[in-house]
Symmetry: C2
Subunit: 206 residues, 2 copies
DNA sequence: CAAAATTTTTTAGTCTACTAAAAATTTTAC
DNA sequence: GTAAAATTTTTAGTAGACTAAAAAATTTTG
């Protein structure tokens, strides 16, 4: 709050509007779902005009994108913090990774909203969405790859393992279960975890 | 054309309109993309009013759904026909499976349209879409599971392999690469195939 | 062939995202 | 404090999905 020297009044006001808009959108989206919310409603709660929302974020999906970008930053921090003590084996590494991701996503937004996010990332209508998601996937896979290399260095994994290929394979596997988890309201997280464990046990040599 | 006894004139006309609508939609979707096509345009080419299109299919996504349902039926037939001679090992089974799916999807619709399909199946806005997709995934995974059991019966696979778990794991793995393939215009099918091969080699014991 | 039943079309209208331009407001710079 | 610059709001409008009800057309039925 003491940085009035670096940011002009105008910039601070803009920042404030931005923050108010995504805060309003977040609560409304979770409350009623993306499709049932109008830009008008967001604008009203944020105390700006609907045209301003458009000028700031372009489209309704643009607002959602901003929401998600924020959440992504935190997820990567969370992973770095909580994967610190590396699990003893591959299966538990992936299960832990999966659990952290599920926990994180649900504390920020709910399933219906995440569905819209994943949906938008695939549809390609909003190229920024696709880009953001590709980048996030890359960063997440990198976390797994890093951990695999740590395990290799610690002698807990065969030396001729290809960390990059294995990392991506495991990421894709858990991501499929993540999407399945998000796509269905009735799918519980512990069930998804069991399914993933079955996947891993069926594939990996013991 | 000789079944005027079983189908009344009215039913045949309805059938005809239905067929004309999805044929019109198919060509228009591929030509210009879902978002750039209006119901009006579909109706005009099909020779009906726009209200009729709504009455028949509900929403624009509903039209797309009908298109996809048709394609699904054919895909399952194709798989049954072409997987007849079972490949010698797991990796080649999955690679073949993947190739058949990619080939089939691209002969029917193009990537932009398939993106909308996958996107709609996840968004959950159109519950029928999600349902159709869950069912298709189930059937596709069942094909893999069946082939795995054949391999087990032929002694080419360990007897204590859990076919169901392994089948789903492999399906999810190839499906992740399929979605990646569809999501990006620049991703070529042979590159996707190489990626999938790397996934499989990294995971499966040799 | 005429009445009844069915279905489509026409008509009219709502809703909301999104856009462009003019008008009003507010910050900034001197 | 005032002129200039930046930014928001107001205003006005387009487009297209979707809906409801009345009107028109067509098939079916006896």
């Amino acid at each position: 709050m003491e940085r009035s020297q670096t940011l002009s009044l105008r910039e601070r006001q803009k920042e404030g509007r931005r923050a108010r808009i995504i805060a309003a959108a977040k609560s409304l989206f979770v409350e009623a779902g993306l499709d049932n919310i109008t830009i008008e409603a967001i604008a009203e709660i944020a105390g700006v005009s609907s045209v301003t929302v458009h000028n700031y974020y372009g489209t309704k999906s643009g607002v959602l994108l901003a929401l998600v970008a924020e959440s992504d930053r935190e997820l990567l921090e969370t992973l770095d913090r909580n994967l610190a003590a590396p699990p003893p084996d591959l299966v538990n590494l992936v299960l832990r990774f999966f659990t952290l991701i599920c926990d994180h996503t649900l504390t920020h937004l709910d399933k219906p909203v995440w569905r819209q996010v994943i949906s938008a990332s695939i549809s390609g209508t909003e190229p920024r969405f696709s880009k953001l998601y590709r980048e996030l996937d890359h960063r997440l896979a990198s976390v797994l790859i890093r951990e695999i290399e740590n395990m290799k260095a610690a002698g807990r994994l065969d030396d001729d393992t290809n960390s990059i290929h294995l990392g991506w394979a495991l990421f894709n596997l858990q991501n499929a279960r993540f999407i399945e988890f998000i796509a269905s309201d009735s799918k519980h997280q512990d069930q998804a975890l069991r399914d993933l464990r079955n996947d891993l046990n069926a594939l990996l040599p013991r």
